[in-house]
């Protein structure tokens, strides 16, 4: 269905759903009400019965995605503020990020082929472990579909934030560094929020590692593209 008379309908609904869900989540603290889950669910619940195409939804909302560029620039602030932590622990963090990224890309690729997934889907799955502002350009470089990657990144965040707490109980991790890296490399932004609930140092480590892993993957893109 076309909503020609209301060109800003989807933008208004997106903003309203986001603000409402953020307010609800802050008040209730229930994970199912977090904007990461509730907003896409709500928008889909309205758009699917109306048979709205993505192009129609995106017409007046696509510029929101353009803000991901300045978000990338803003990542310089946590890097700079945590530079002492990085200088002290760079070998452990670098090895952890390298190992995590290799496992992420390798296992996504291997499992996708094992389960005979579509080629475009497999390629879009490769950057799923890094934060969206880095994952979308990386998907583009690798020949995947950036929008699909954003969807996979979201599911990674939702699942990773759920798994993380359980893993912390099972794994004998004594250092806040390891606990933070688990969330930062495994579940990007959603993981960083969880890590901040675990502890202040875990939160800082997770935030730093999330940004650096994104950069690391982006710079590894030409190598990865040559391998594929």
């Amino acid at each position: 269905m076309s909503l020609e008379p209301m060109p800003l309908f989807w933008l208004a609904l997106t903003l309203a759903a986001y603000l409402g869900s953020r307010w609800l989540y802050r008040r209730s603290g229930r994970y199912l009400l977090s904007p990461l889950i509730l907003v896409p669910a709500l928008l889909l619940a309205v758009a699917v019965p109306l048979h709205t195409a993505y192009a129609e939804y995106a017409r007046n909302t696509h510029w929101l995605m353009a803000v991901l560029g300045p978000v990338t620039v803003a990542f310089a602030v946590p890097i700079w503020q945590q530079r002492a932590l990085l200088a002290r622990h760079w070998p452990a963090l670098l090895l952890g990020m390298l190992a995590g990224s290799c496992v992420s890309i390798g296992s996504s690729w291997g499992l996708a082929h094992l389960l005979a997934l579509d080629e475009a889907v497999s390629l879009s799955l490769l950057p799923r472990s890094i934060t969206t502002p880095f994952a979308m350009p990386l998907a583009h470089d690798l020949g995947g579909v950036p929008e699909l990657t954003a969807v996979f990144v979201m599911f990674t965040g939702v699942l990773g934030a759920l798994f993380g707490g359980t893993l912390l109980r099972w794994l004998p991790l004594r250092t806040p560094l390891a606990r933070g890296a688990l969330f930062g490399v495994g579940a990007h932004g959603a993981g960083v929020s969880r890590a901040q609930e675990v502890g202040r140092e875990e939160g800082s480590v997770a935030g730093l590692v999330m940004v650096l892993t994104g950069l690391l993957n982006l710079f590894a893109a030409p190598l990865l593209a040559a391998l594929l």
Partner: protein, 128 residues
Amino acid sequence: MNAVLLKKLTRLICELAVLFALFLFGSQLAAWSGWPIPGGVLGLALLLMLFASGLLKPAMLQAGAGWLMAEMLLFFIPALMSLLDYGSLLRDEGWRILLVIAVSTLLVMVVTAVTVELVCRWSLRHEP
């Protein structure tokens, strides 16, 4: 009260303008140079250099950068709606895709955490 709020808001908008300007400059630089690096990443590198040179202090951009990172979710929600065009893909492959993401995410978390933990313990033992 209102004057304080107005001052805060003006400050936030100025900080956001600086971050947007860095992004635009980074994008221009990427276009001129032909480097295969996104404009945002060049902007990030530029901002790190400004911090290192002392021309800018992180505290000057704290509100703007914090706001962008806190509300990041809003900026990628439109991309999630691409699901609208992939209904049949999800029906055919949805469960398999979720399985890949779940298993791979578990593996990444375990391997990353264990690697960092082992390197930390090793370096603690070998520190003088």
